[in-house]
Symmetry: C2
Subunit: 371 residues, 2 copies
């Protein structure tokens, strides 16, 4: 959150760190919304995690960045906290106080982090948010176990409210979690396939990122007594917001500045990820697209070790080809299209004008971020 | 289920296959109860698993024994199905039709199998129910992913009922799942400790086995509209039944007949498990107990490979020492004590006499089984 929008815009012509759209966002308002989400949700999240039996409480605290690997208090990067901010706004969308959304914010964060713990292990990712991942520090068994515990805790936090609304909220969260799992299954299966279509990639990203973001935007409203139609439309906004978010992530995953993203240069290329810029470039046709296809087909036959020996220049030349074939520009455009669809959904429901403006500001923020 | 009680009793003086107690159980009644649970719950369980996206549906079907590793239909051993039988009886305990308990039976089975998938991976267990485990056949990522999916599905099956009772049932299932996870965390941490007390072992087994069995016995009643007190007392019966079940399992884990259990000879000793007979023998004091302690302390320093080279005789001599120190007899007595506590709990509530008799018969069955 330290990067100001104006600083970002001044560098937006550079090769690295270039982002996809520049709506005139109200930085102060978004910062305040994210801060409110963090301030209200974090103490409840920490109290929830404190319920875990040792050593799971410690492992979870490490994952959330509250302690370091040696167990000392830490103020590490705990993420952007877009979801808690959305869950509180969601309660306000239903005319309730933001605090009504807190259990929803906490439950969504718990599910999100359950999926990070398990995905990092399945994908063999050794770093997240500039730090070693849980399976790397505490071993695979703890990553599985603490992930499971966070998932259970998410349901517990909601269901112990004991209301009909809590049951409805948990049902929506459960369906979103199933989609999250479907998305991870697709992500894994695509790794072994030579070709993935743009549609398949969008479906996977809708499951992996859209579904839980959608739930963050409906869960507070459901807890605040909103009807199913209102919740469904809020989810529509959240789903497309998630796809916009992911399109930006996919651009950053190749061309992002390591200092901002906390990942290595050309991160997604190193993992041979079939992200949107790649599949769009391959689908585009033309000379650059065909050259890229031949190179990636040859890459696919290489072992992990051979691949790890690639130079910076080899990754840079692949990134340049993706850009030449139009994959980068298509993905940036896609982020803008999803952003527009998200905002248009808000016209279908009657929510307080201030809440609508804040949801728009958050959507703007999501497409201009650098990390 | 093919072993008749009379056949078992006739061999109950043999070293292998000897079991812990011989209440006069009504075999026909128990067989009918287990069969009813299987008949009513399995189609709904299969329909639930069919909701999973490929390849998770196939991996789950393999885990449940419905198909073999090549994908061909199979009629493998899918377990004793004690939990579904209990969930249906649970509905009847609240005066509802057994069918009311079906979603509860299915949800409990899904959570049970979620934990098997993850535990087998964490523990490195290569075999379950005479077959290779999921992580061994389909890889660790699928074991994690399908486990996650089954856990989510369990909540989905209950919450889509959309009733207040379903919310209460899911809340109980969630709390039981958290205990299940606590128990697995304890089990893992005990592996690295030199000494575990009998109390710690019982607490771990109460979490790992008691909590979900308890939930199976309350979930149908909750879905049938039972109040919290009735549900709590049914859980008390189920919790102690679970501890009795586990005590029998711990005896079978050392002295069980491989043809019946589907595990290798001296299975728990091969895994250096600190199960009840072991911790009870170590706590007993006396010459055999002290010799056992010295031997196990030396064993703990050996590598997996050195340990794998042990002969049948070396395991047999350890088992004999555990028995000489009284570990086997104490565990058999403990199964009977827990069985008695379980049955006594039923006196605290007013449930139909026929249901009470069937719960007693199931408890009797649990302590005399050979697998």
């Amino acid at each position: 959150m330290t990067t100001s929008t104006s600083a970002r815009q001044s560098t937006s012509t550079g090769k690295r760190g270039e982002t996809v759209a520049s709506p005139a966002i109200d930085t102060a308002s978004v910062t305040a919304l994210l801060e409110r989400g963090r301030t209200l949700a974090t103490p409840v999240l920490r109290a929830a995690v404190d319920r875990l039996a040792p050593p799971m409480d410690t492992v979870a605290a490490y994952h959330f960045g509250w302690i370091d690997a040696a167990g000392n208090p830490s103020t590490g990067d705990s993420g952007k906290a877009v979801r808690p901010a959305l869950a509180l706004l969601s309660a306000e969308a239903a005319g309730a106080a933001p605090e009504v959304g807190i259990p929803g914010a906490v439950a969504v964060e718990l599910v999100h982090n359950f999926s990070l713990l398990h995905d990092d292990l399945m994908d063999g990712d050794e770093q997240r948010r500039h730090r070693d991942t849980v399976w790397k520090v505490h071993g695979p068994a703890q990553a599985i176990l603490v992930g499971d515990a966070l998932f259970a805790l998410a349901n517990e936090i909601l269901l112990e409210l004991g209301t009909v609304e809590a049951g409805r909220a948990t049902c929506r969260l459960t369906l979103a979690t199933r989609k999250l799992i479907d998305g991870q299954a697709q992500d894994i299966s695509y790794e072994h396939r030579e070709r993935v279509t743009v549609e398949e990639c969008l479906e996977m990203e809708g499951n992996k990122t859209g579904a839980l973001l959608a739930c963050a935007v409906s869960i507070g409203a459901v807890l605040g007594g909103a009807d199913d139609r209102t919740a469904d439309i809020l989810e529509k906004y959240g789903y497309h917001l998630g796809l916009a978010f992911q399109a930006v992530d996919d651009v950053l995953g190749i061309w992002g500045d390591p200092d901002s993203t906390g990942k290595r240069t050309w991160s997604d290329l190193r993992q041979r990820k079939k992200s949107l810029p790649v599949v769009a470039a391959l689908a585009a046709g033309g000379e650059a697209s065909e050259r890229l296809a031949r190179i990636l087909a040859a890459d696919a036959k290489k072992t992990e070790t051979e691949f790890a020996d690639f130079t910076e220049e080899e990754f840079a030349s692949r990134a340049a080809l993706i850009e030449e074939a139009g994959g980068r520009e298509w993905t940036s455009q896609e982020a803008r299209r999803q952003h527009a669809t998200a905002i248009a959904a808000l016209d279908e429901i009657d929510i307080p004008e201030k809440v609508r403006a804040q949801l728009v500001a958050l959507a703007d923020f999501v497409v201009v971020r650098e990390r």
